[in-house]
Symmetry: C2
Subunit: 229 residues, 2 copies
Amino acid sequence: MNKVLRMNLRDRDILQSTPLMAGLNPGLVKRILDGVVIFSAEARDLLFREGAAADCFYVVIAGYVRLYRTGVDGKEADTGVFGPGDVFGQCAMFLSDRHTFNAQCAEPATLARFDYSKIRHIMAEEPELSLSLMNIMARHLNDARMNVANDRLHTAPQRVARYLLELSHTQGDGHANSFRLPFQKSLLAGKLGLAPEALSRAFSLLKNSGVTIRGRVIQISDAEALRKI
Amino acid sequence: MNKVLRMNLRDRDILQSTPLMAGLNPGLVKRILDGVVIFSAEARDLLFREGAAADCFYVVIAGYVRLYRTGVDGKEADTGVFGPGDVFGQCAMFLSDRHTFNAQCAEPATLARFDYSKIRHIMAEEPELSLSLMNIMARHLNDARMNVANDRLHTAPQRVARYLLELSHTQGDGHANSFRLPFQKSLLAGKLGLAPEALSRAFSLLKNSGVTIRGRVIQISDAEALRKI
DNA sequence: CGTTGAATTGATTTAAGTCAATCGACGTGG
DNA sequence: CCACGTCGATTGACTTAAATCAATTCAACG
């Protein structure tokens, strides 16, 4: 676990097309990537804990990582799930330098680690980088708020329906009505703020609206019906 | 409604001590404030709508503004409440230039308006400003995620108890156990993701834990008991 | 003093969590 | 190759938290 890897071309490719670096000039990208460490992690590995000192952020290269908080009785609430190309853990760089959430691999993953100190140093000289980070934070902020609103406005089946529609847009570019869930259903349940059982029930309810589920493969026959669940 | 005002010393003072400007050099502050418009708004006035083109952000000088999203059936879910010194509406500057939420005055308010174009222009020359904005976004992001976690981990009475404890820390600096709610209970209910009735019931339950409520005045006799609701 | 909007209280309904049993897929080892 | 064990997913029965609906009460303000 946590084995350091050499950065291969594929890794570099993914990192470069990340919103963090996509807009930056090649020289700057090179400079940033020089300070990056690539490593692998096992399912359930903790990347950081709430309250722990924060000194780096991460980009997912492969696999999925969940960000969550734990309650008194050990219950956990996910506030985000990050997949290939996503940045996480950057928030603490601008706050108290302590993480306020836990980050855990949901499956075997490979990650890139960016040191705060190095990034801060580059940021001081290259406003471009600040801009990129700002864009990421803005997107994350919007996502988080949408999440709050979504939780409060919609029922479980509605949230699931919306997620499936969104997914069908990103994955099956356009009108492909068959696609794959990117991760385990239990993780999806957490992301949507549901118990796994509730997700299961939501799925079985959606079957009446033209959704077929076989394992992780989803088929939507009537997007319109889904939209007005 | 929406009457433009001259910036007075008090306004300037509040703006300068905002996290947006507190760390900036005086010359820069002056430059930014030159582009600012101060105006008053009535309770229920909309500052912007979801989907509308976004061309400025705001700082609250007095009063409270709520940020919310509306569902199909007209239901509304608050994702944040902003008071004196708070920035809102800046998110869209880094996204699509469309607002994704509605912002409405919860009571008569006075606000400062900052044009995106002017701010962007200054930002391009003054990295300090970017940093300030980044800090604000980070704080907002953290708040929003905490909100998600809080909703999912805690019951209504627990959320209320936490809010009261937090408020007693900010308001009654230190150990003052008596303080005032900063705004209407119905607004607080929205902020906490509750129906007003649920907030009311939560309050009446907390009375058993040494909380006394008279109008907007709250008294906490046993903070420890509150903490472990 | 009376009107308006907010807050409270009670009765009821609904959504979703919890608990428990079962099923299914998959990988391991006999 | 099959039996077993593990883990995720599903299903059912039940409980609980909070929304909803409706009726007052309360407070602020002209």
